[in-house]
Every structure is written in structure tokens, then in C-alpha cells.
Amino acid sequence: MSDDDLDLTTLNDEELVQQMHDDLYDGLKEEIVESVEILLSRDWAPYRILTEALVEGMRIVGIDFRDGILFVPEVLLSANAMKAGMHLLRPLLVETGAPKLGKMVIGTVKGDIHDIGKNLVGMMMEGAGFEVVDLGINNPVENYLDAIEEHQPDILGMSALLTTTMPYMKVVIDAMKERGIRDNHVVLVGGAPLNEEFGEAVGADSYCRDAAVTVETAKEFMMRKHNQLAAAAG
């Protein structure tokens, strides 16, 4: 329960979704799980719960993080709450055939073990309807190339927190060029020391400042791809 006086089951759907946004903001994991169960019991489709309650709630968290109102600890608590909700929804989303926007392979580059940002991106991308293949941390170029070959993702995401490891992104992109597969995939890069100039310099399609920007950027690229395919077909 969100507080001593509030019984979540007494809220109507609209109120409950609003309460879930507040509970996500406050990082209240148990309340999110309870609310997801309530909405499921009211025959809400898993995809609707995901988009209207969880993703929208995290979108608000993302805005306040960007604007300096929330900080990393609060965002992590929110992410944990969303993760708990996703844990319930994931198998149901598979069963109900929720729409997929595309596929992303994501990983932290070789020499770097930092994954907080990458994990947030992975979760937000999944919430936004992307299938996410997470390679974890400390990935040499072979891991990326093998995963690209195996999963044929629309998007490759690379993350680095260290000034010393971020140049490795160019190693991966150059290897993709050598194999002649660079233009088959959108490459998005992110991490605290990166910026747009760096993204351009290593040959990425875009630098993404945070998880919310990554989702929006990925959606734009997928839209462009679909438009190009439609134009080619027409």
C-alpha cells in the first residue's frame, strides 16, 4: 500500500494509473507490483499497463532527472520499481504478442564495467517496445560482431563511463565497416564523458544523453527505416 491510509484497490483505473506514476517517482516497488496485479485483475492488457502506467511514469522521472530535480539514486529506485512491474508483465507480453518496434543489442565496451546507464537504457527500450539483447559489461569487439550476426538487430548501443574506454567504440564501428555491415544497423552511443562531437567522430549515428533520449532517438530511426521501406515498396 502506498501509505497507511490508501488502499490501492479502492482507486478507479484512472486514479490508480496516476498513483502508479507517483509510486514510480517515489521508487515504491511493492506498490507498483500490487498496482500491476490490480490492473491485470481488471482485465487491462499487459501492453496497456506497460505503456500507460510504467513507461509514462518513467518518462516523467526521466524529465525530472534531465532537469536536475531528481538525481541518480532516485532514478535507480524508480528503475527498480519499474523492473519489478516489468517482471510480472514480461511473460504476459510475450503471450499476448505485444507489438515490437525493433531489436537492439546493447553492451558496455571493453575495459569498462559500468552498467547503470546501460541498464536504464535497456529497461526503457524494452518498455518502449524494443526487444533488447544485453551483452553486459567489458565487451571486446568480437562480442558485438557475434551478437550482430546472431541477432541481426536494428540498433547497436554502446556505453562507456571512462574517458579511457570510450575510444573503443570506434574500434567496434570500424570493425563493422570492415565487414561491410555498418550501414545495416543504427549505432547509438552513450555515457557520461561522451558528447555529440565524440559520437560523430567515432562514426556513430547518434549520441544519446540519457535513457529517455535514447528511446526517442531509436523510435525516430525506426520510423525513418519504415518510411524508407515503404517508399521503396511503393
Partner: protein, 218 residues
């Protein structure tokens, strides 16, 4: 080198406005104030003045270059030379690009862990230590202000493994041996659930940098 002892309160005053007459200004991270002042004093470098920016800038590294640039512009007419006591410090090359525009040099190395260890020595073992979390004397002294509270671990200790779960050890790079700091480092290691390795470095490349050795400059 026999280093002079400086306490934190003294550093705060001297680092804000050192007051020493001189032709060289070192603009440095507050996390290096004690160590730089110790080298200055031990070597009688009366021509060197130190001004420090808050170490907390490391939590917003995108702001470091602008903060250093503002100080360079405010002070450059008063000194013959300005040196920068910062590594790249997560600025992703933005600090170096700004310094190049101003023709100002900084100490070589990506961060203080590298130049305290010695950049070459640090790089030589870097690949084997990607899962090491480093501490310096400053970090041990200021761990709660610099790490625990900003990361919310005082309010939400359950977040510990999200921050530190991928680390395998804690390496304490010791600038000046101090049994109190050793005990504090032990406690930090316990709290983080990591084994502690204590590694004496002294001031490493920082000493040569302050004394004017060009080989330690980027």
C-alpha cells in the same frame, strides 16, 4: 619526500586564496589541495600560488572545463604561468580542448589515480584492474560526503550492489600513511563488501608537476 602535514580546515582557507606572492598559479581540483600544498611547502616554492575548485565538481564533470576556464580568464593577467592540477577527470577531452585554446598545460593522466600511481605504471596494470575501485587519501577522508551521500547510500543502502556490484576490489592509493585513514578504508571496504588492497604511492607524478617537471605535463 618528507611531506608537510596540512589539515582540511587549513586547506579550505589556503586553497581559496593562498595569498603567497608568485609568478606561477596552479588551478587544481580541491581533492588535490593538501597534496599540492605539501609539495609547495616541502620545496619552499614561494613563487607558486594554489587556487582550488570544489572537488564536488567531479559529480558533474561536464562543468569542470567551464569552471577552470573562468578561473584562468580571471587570473591570467596576475601570473606569468598557469598550470592545471586536473586529469581529464571524465570531461571527455573537453578540458584539454579548452586548455589548448588558452595555451595552458595540465598534469598528464586521465585522473588522480593515474598520476598518483605514475601514469606509466598505472597504464601498465590498467587492463588487469578494470574491476578495481580506487580510493585516495582525500577519497577516504571524504567518502561519505563524496560517495555515500551523493549516491544515496546513506538513505538507500540497498542500492550498493547497483553501484558497486561489478567491482572486485578496493585499491587504496596511499599518499601519506595515516593509521586513522587505514582504519577508515577498512570500514569502507566492509560497507562495500569488497576486499581492500592498500598501495602506497606517495604523491607520484604530482610532485614533479608541482616542482615544474615538464615530463609530467599533458
Amino acid at each position: 619526500m618528507a611531506a608537510a602535514r596540512v589539515d582540511d580546515a587549513e586547506v579550505a582557507v589556503e586553497a581559496a586564496d593562498d595569498g603567497m606572492p608568485g609568478t606561477v598559479l596552479i588551478i587544481a581540483c580541491g581533492a588535490l589541495a593538501r597534496e599540492i600544498l605539501a609539495v609547495v611547502r616541502a620545496n619552499g616554492l614561494d613563487h607558486v600560488t594554489l587556487k582550488c575548485l570544489p572537488a564536488q565538481l567531479h559529480n558533474r564533470p561536464e562543468k569542470i572545463a567551464d569552471a577552470v576556464e573562468a578561473l584562468i580568464e580571471a587570473e591570467r593577467e596576475h601570473y606569468d604561468e598557469i598550470l592545471i592540477g586536473y586529469g581529464d577527470c571524465g570531461t571527455g577531452g573537453r578540458l584539454d580542448a579548452m586548455l589548448e585554446r588558452h595555451g595552458v598545460r595540465r598534469i598528464a593522466g586521465a585522473h588522480c589515480y593515474a598520476f598518483f600511481t605514475g601514469v606509466e605504471a598505472f597504464m601498465a596494470r590498467a587492463e588487469d584492474e578494470i574491476a578495481a575501485f580506487y580510493l585516495t587519501d582525500f577519497m577516504v577522508r571524504q567518502f561519505d560526503a563524496f560517495i555515500t551521500r551523493p549516491l544515496g547510500l546513506d538513505r538507500h543502502p540497498e542500492l550498493r550492489d547497483m553501484y558497486f556490484g561489478n567491482y572486485e576490489k578496493l585499491v587504496y592509493l596511499v599518499q601519506q600513511s595515516d593509521s586513522c585513514l587505514d582504519r577508515k578504508a577498512d570500514l569502507i571496504a566492509q560497507r562495500l563488501g569488497l576486499p581492500l588492497e592498500r598501495r602506497p604511492t606517495g604523491f607520484g607524478d604530482l610532485a614533479g608537476f608541482v616542482e615544474g617537471d615538464a615530463s609530467t605535463m599533458a
